[in-house]
Every structure is written in C-alpha cells, then in structure tokens.
Amino acid sequence: MNKCKLLMASLVIFLTGCNLRVLDPKSETARDQSFLIQFSFALMMIVFAIVIILFVWFLSKYRENDQNKDYIPADEKGSPWLEITWTVIPFILLAILAVPTVSITFEQSAQTESTPTDAVLIEVTGQQFSWTFSYQNGVETVNDLRLPVDRPVEFTLRSDDIIHSFWIPKLGGKKDLIPGETRRMIVTPEETGTYQGKCAEFCGREHTKMRFTTTVMEESEYEQWLEDMKEKIE
C-alpha cells in the first residue's frame, strides 16, 4: 500500500513537472527531448504497472498461511504461450518507442547540418573552470552568455584542456567539448529569460563551480548589448 502511495505521489510530482528545468523546454530541441522523456515514461509505466499488479497479486494470494503450509505445489515447468506473450509485447512497446527515438536522435545528432542563414555564431571555449564566449564582433565574455530570442544560434564548442560538457537544461541536452576537436550545436531559444548553464562532465577540482548564466533577450536589446560591450573593449 505504501508503495502505491509513493507511486501516486511521484506521478503527481512528475506530471506537474513544469517546475523541473528539463521538462520546461524553451526551444524546439529541448521540447523534442522533453517529449521523448515523457513518452518513454508513459510507455514504461504500462510495463511497471503490470509487474506491480502481478507482484502484489501473487505475493498476497500465494503467501504461506496455516492452510497451505504443508501443501506441495504441483510441478510446473513453464508455459510456451505465456513466455511468448512476454517476449512479444515488450518488442512491440520498444518498436513504438524506437520510432520517435530514431527520428529525433537522428535529427539532433547530425554533424553535417548546414548553418541556418540568419544564425548567430558563438564560439564556446571551456577551460578549468570557466566558460569563454566569443561573439562575431569580437566581444568576449566569461560565464555570461547572451542570446537573441527566436534566432538560431550555432555554438562552436572547443576545449582548452580536458573534456567538459556544455549544458543549458532549458534549451537542450548537452554536448561534450573534446580537446583537439570541434563540436557544433544549434538551438533556437523561443522565450526571453535567464537560464542556468553548467558543465556536466566532471573536470576536476572546481567542476562544481563551472557554471554560466544564459540570458535570452529581445533582438534589439541583444544588438544594443553587443554594441555596448564592443565600445567597452575599444
């Protein structure tokens, strides 16, 4: 019974998960990922529910008591039909899950995707233990990322020392920064606001402190900010 309550409570937390950053997407990328998380969760809950129902049922019905304690159960080797059932049904569930998995993963893992025409290009460099962002007009910021709303952003990811991982939970999943290699990531923020960004790959002593803030602003505000920053360095 306690298990059931726990399950219900967790389900409620899960469904009202709008407060959880990963389930509160602010870009198409993150929305697709959030959809996959909730879709796979729903499918898996079917399996989980069946197992729990059978588990509770069998355990309560066949538990040893005063009547049956000397009873020797009939020998039963198995049942091909039942065994085929629980082989085939998981296959079907997984096939259903595989379709959106393959299509979204394929789309989001693409390396060759061409740069969108109106994209903002930002170079991201990770180093122990901070982030450097370089904008097209030569402006550089540390741990402070500014993006315009509703325009695709192409991040070029590089590492100065060891492996880091670039992650803004509300804008999309992470991508590793590998020393000596270049990775790309394209997202389009759809709402203004301030979002957390983090290094997700353990990178040494102050990995915990390797965080940045992402501020998504209106296009005009963004241009103004770039201008101001440019003037500051000149």
Partner: protein, 642 residues
C-alpha cells in the same frame, strides 16, 4: 591541521588523521580479541587455505569491510550535499572528488565483485556436485591478488593520495598532466592487480563447471546460479582483458611519457571506448550472478521449480551477448554521429526484452506456489519492484536524444543505484542469508534480518527516488554543492535522510552476524527445504563433501529425492576424483610481493621495481617446482589430474 615534530611542520588533513586513529584503534582491538579468544589457529587456517568454502568466506568478509568503508564515504557525500552551499568538514573540492571516486571504485570492484565471487566460491561447486574448485591453489592466488588490489586502492587514502578522477578515470583528466599526484597510480595498479585475480577466478569457474559436474548433471540440469556463474565467467574472460589493456596504456601515459590519450595522434575518446567496452559488460558481470541467486531463492521459497528454465538460461546468455554491443550509450553526448547513436540506442533497448522475460518468469514461479517470506526471500521480493524501476529508467536512458538531457545528471545516478543496489546488493544479501548455513552451520537471525531488510530497502528508496527529480531539475553528477536557486534542496535533503537509514540497516546486518556467532542456532543440512545438491551435504560444507557421489537425473535433484525417494539421492557408479586441496603460505606471500611491486611503481623507486619484479618472476618458478601430483601419486591417493 598542522603540527610540529623535530622542528619541522607537518600537515595532515583531519579526516585522514581521524581515519588513522579509528583504524589503529579497531586494529588493536581486533588483535586483542583474537589473542584473548586464542583464535590464531583459525586465522592461520584461513590464510593458508585453498578450500573453496573458506576462500568464499574470505571474499565475503573482505567485501563486507570494504562495503562499510565505501558506505561511510557515501554518508560523507550525502552530508556535504544535504543543504545548499554546505561546508561539511573538509569535503569540498578535491576531497569531495576523492570521496566519490573511491566510493564508486571500491563499491564496484571491491564490494560487488567479491560479494558475488565469494558466493560463487561457496555455492557453485556444491550445487554441481564438485568436490572443490578445479584449481584450488589458483583459487587462493585469485583471492590474494584481489585483496592486494583492494588494499592498494584503500590505502591510497591513508597515504593522502586518493584517486580523484572518478571511477571512470576519464582521460585526459586522469593523465599526469592534470593529476600528477600518486592517486590515479593507486587506481591503475589496484584495478590491474585485482583484475588479474578476477580473470583467474573466471577461468577457474569455467573449468570447474565444464569438467567437475556430478554424473548426470547435464548443462540443462544445472541450477540457475551455476548457469549465471558460467555466463559471467565468460563475460569476465572477454571484458577484463580490455580493462587490463586500457589501464596498461594509461599507465604508460602517466609513468613513461607516451601520449595515447592526448596530443596529435592520441585521443581522449580512445579511453572512453576502451573503458566502456569493459565497463558495460562489467555491469552485467555484477548483475547476472544476482539474477542466478534470485532464481534459486525464489524457486526454493515458493516450493516450485523455476518457471521457464530454458528461457531463463537463454535470457542470461542473450543479456551477456547484447552486453557487448551497447557501450556507446555511455557516450551519446560525445558526438559520434547520428548512425552510431541510433544503433546503440536500439541495441540498448533490446536488452529490456530478455530482462523482462526473467522478471515475468520469476513472478510466475511464485504463482501457484507456497511463498515463505524468510529473510532471503524478502530480499528477492524487494528486488523485483526495485529493479523494475531501474530497468524502466534504463529504457528511458536508452532513448539517445533524451539521454542528451539525462547524461551525467543525478537521474543517471539514481538509475544505476536502482540497478546495482536494487539488483547486485540485494542479491548478495539474499545469497548471504541463504547460504550462510552452508558456510558456518547456523542461520543468521531472522528477526534482525527482517529489520535489516526493511530499513535498508525503505532507506534505499528514500535515498535514490528523489534523485531522479534532482537530475531532471538540472543537477549534474559529481558536484560538491549547489545553490538555493537550483531548487534541488528538498530532493537532496530527503536523500540524505534515506542514506542514514540505509546505514542503520547495514549496522543491523553487522549486528546480526555478531549475534549469530555469539548464540548460533544450529540448523542442520537443509534449513530452507532446498532443491539443489548443496543442501544434501553437511553444514558447514566439509572437504570432499560428495561421498558417495550422487547420480543426477533431473533439475532440482534433492527436491525430487525428497518427494520420491525419501530424501536419498541415487548413488553414481563413477565419479571424478577431487582436485588437490593443499595448505600453502605461497598465495599470501605472493600477495606481499605483488604489493611491494605495485608500490615501487606508484612511487617510482627503480631499484625496488627490479628487485620486486624478480621476486614476482621467482614465484612463478617456485610454483612450477611445487609438485603435489607426484607426492600424492606416491602416497597412493586418488586425485584429479587435470
């Protein structure tokens, strides 16, 4: 803290100082107790033994000690993370990183592995009707190599040089450029030495199972724990050499200036591939034996044979095979491209099918049975819902694009603790409660066992369930603190409470062992109304237990004999002679030499490397010249001549 000695100032971290005091204190206490009870002969007996049951007990005992150590680290981690921006003792920055690195390394390699290998040693020969393991001397060597590796990793803390690059030791962080201290050398040599022991143990298991089964014990009549041991042994034989190679290369990068994992021609991604080609089969190496234990326990405590025996065997073989085809799901965010990511997403999902088959077969084993909820069965029953939660999140993680979000967050931490604690640790506890009578002749107390179970299981769910939400709210793994704005305080706080509950549960386990030895309930050879051969021999299992050798005609031969033959097993006409069981100081001496050898490399003492290297080679010569066969043949004793 710093202190003055001989006009020089020394620095020692307070946690290390405290650990020294505790270690020396308990060490002296144990010595005193052993001396007072005059148990030196028992210790000598165990240290020089090559008998499978005693070696199994040694594995289990050391695994329990390391479980307590790594468990304390878990509590330290939870203390530091209990509230935002916490400063608990010294555990921030490197100290915290060291704590989670050794927690993971010790729990996987020096707790999960020896718990299972120990149970295999105790139970498998008895289950299949073997007089001992095929190579008793090598069995002892396996144990002492394992212990040497375990002590190396454990002592690093006392030498204030704990490994600090995570249990995965990702390059280039683990190379000398970024972590020049001795810590990761301890990691390399510790795993390398114990890994050799594990490979030898796997060879021993395979030969024992293939060559030493009782007459009539066909492969298709073996208990499922023996089957899972066989499959696991093959997985070890394939996967561990990959770890050996990876560590070897890393050792060259660290000690001898090569650059496999950095620079122009090297790449840090090679380490990830090598590590996970080993690492993913490794998680099946530690879960498949637990599956075997659950099959035996659930069948015994439901008074029914296991449902769908053939599909159970096929399922573990398929899990073993698929286990080698999924390693990239640890690397979805590396950017290996769309084809690689989708292929590995699909293979990973496929593992859910054979695992599901096993879950349903266990459920249907219980159906129409008579389920006795003794302590071993409680652990088996607690395993089913717990492991299914871990399996469900496993399928969610297999969805590669969703994993871009999950990867390296507390969601993953929650997932693998659900599978490894929910599967391996509950399995090992079930196995220990189940086979304890076979090791010592008496049961562990049922009441304390139940307290242990409920505290541990409820504590477990309280600890790890909220971590799913912490992960979804953006908490990365391996961080030592978080801010109030992160909105993950409540999840972490609940988690810390649960961890202490698990700790109390574990204390009940230790208390149970103590009480059971103090006041043993002798329970005879067959306390659980068993089904398989190990319950037909005396408890504790003697040397050469099968006399006369039983003839096996069915699955669950003892059960069949109890139903139809008044409990008497049919006697076989022929039987294999027993492997040679000796007592020898050689294995434990080898342990000393290999420790010396490893330490001389960790601290770069060239002359000692040469001396101890020669001593290691000398041991091979010594063993080659030790000939028990001729001696026994002269004495006219019947012995196995493999």
């Amino acid at each position: 803290m710093t202190f003055e000695l001989f006009n020089r100032t020394f620095f020692i971290a307070t946690d290390v100082l405290f650990a020294y005091i505790v270690l020396i204190g308990t060490g002296l206490g144990v010595l005193y107790l052993v001396n007072r009870a005059n148990k030196w002969s028992v210790i000598k007996d165990y240290v020089t033994t090559t008998h499978h049951r005693k070696i199994g007990v040694l594995y289990l005992l050391s695994a329990t000690l390391f479980f307590l150590r790594a468990g304390i680290e878990a509590l330290i981690i939870r203390m530091q993370l209990s509230v935002p921006e916490n400063d608990f003792w010294v555990f921030q920055g490197d100290k915290f990183n060291e704590a989670f690195t050794t927690h993971g390394t010790i729990m996987i390699f020096f707790v999960a592995m020896p718990l299972l290998i120990g149970l295999m040693n105790v139970a498998v020969p008895l289950q299949i009707g073997a007089q001992d393991m095929a190579f008793p001397y090598m069995n002892a060597i396996s144990f002492w190599l394992f212990l040497a590796g375990a002590i190396l990793v454990n002592m690093s803390f006392f030498m204030t040089a704990s490994p600090n690059a995570g249990w995965t030791a990702y390059a280039p962080l683990s190379t000398a450029e970024f972590t020049p201290e001795a810590g990761n050398d301890y990691y390399i040599f510790g795993l390398q030495v114990s890994g050799v022991g594990t490979i030898l143990a796997a060879i021993n298991m395979i030969v024992t199972i293939v060559r030493h089964r009782a007459p009539g014990m066909k492969m298709t009549r073996m208990p499922l724990f023996a089957w899972s041991t066989l499959v696991t042994a093959f997985l070890i034989l394939i996967a561990f050499p990959v770890l050996t190679i990876a560590l070897y290369i890393l050792m060259f990068d660290r000690l001898f200036g090569t650059s496999f994992f950095s620079g122009e021609s090297g790449s840090p991604i090679y380490w990830q591939h090598l590590f996970w080609i080993f690492g993913h089969p490794e998680v099946y190496i530690i879960i498949i034996p637990a599956f075997g234990i659950f099959s035996d326990v659930i069948s015994t405590f439901s008074k029914k044979r296991v449902f769908g025996y053939t599909s159970m065997v096929v399922a573990i073989v398929i899990i073993g095979l698929l286990g080698f085809m999924v390693w990239v799901h640890h690397m979805f965010t590396v950017g290996l491209g769309p084809v690689v990511n989708t292929v590995f997403a699909i293979t990973t999902m496929l593992i859910a099918v054979p695992t599901g088959i096993k879950i349903f077969n266990w459920l249907f084993t219980m159906r129409k049975g008579v389920i006795r909820l003794g302590t071993p069965m409680l652990f088996a029953a607690g395993f089913i819902p717990t492991f299914v939660i871990g399996g469900v999140t496993g399928v969610m993680l297999a969805v590669a694009a969703a994993d871009f979000q999950f990867h390296d967050t507390y969601f993953v931490v929650a997932h693998f603790h659900y599978t490894m604690v929910g599967g391996t640790v509950l399995g090992a506890f079930a196995g220990i409660y189940y086979w304890f009578p076979k090791m010592f002749g008496f049961k562990l107390k049922d009441g304390l066992g139940k307290a242990h179970f409920w505290l541990f299981l409820i504590g477990f769910h309280i600890t790890f369930f909220p971590q799913h939400f912490a992960g979804l709210n953006g908490m990365p793994r391996r961080v030592y603190t978080y801010t109030a704005e992160d909105n993950i305080f409540i999840f972490n706080f609940i988690s810390t409470i649960g961890a202490f509950m698990m700790g109390i549960g574990t204390l009940f386990f230790v208390l149970n062992i103590y009480k059971s030895f103090k006041d043993p309930d002798k329970c005879g050879n067959d306390p659980w109304d068993g089904r398989t051969l190990e319950w037909s021999v005396p408890s504790p299992a003697p040397e050469h237990p099968f006399d006369p050798m039983p003839q096996v005609n069915t699955v669950d031969p003892l059960w069949e004999a109890k139903r139809n033959r008044g409990g008497k097993l049919p006697v076989a006409n022929t039987s294999r002679s027993a492997p040679i069981d000796v007592t020898s100081w050689q294995p434990v001496s080898f342990y000393g030499v290999i420790m010396l050898f490893s330490l001389s490399f960790i601290y770069h003492v060239t002359w000692l490397q040469i001396v101890s290297g020669v001593m290691v080679l000398a041991f091979f010569a010594l063993r080659t010249l030790t000939d028990e066969h001729t001696r026994l043949a002269k004495e006219g004793e019947n012995h196995d001549n493999v």
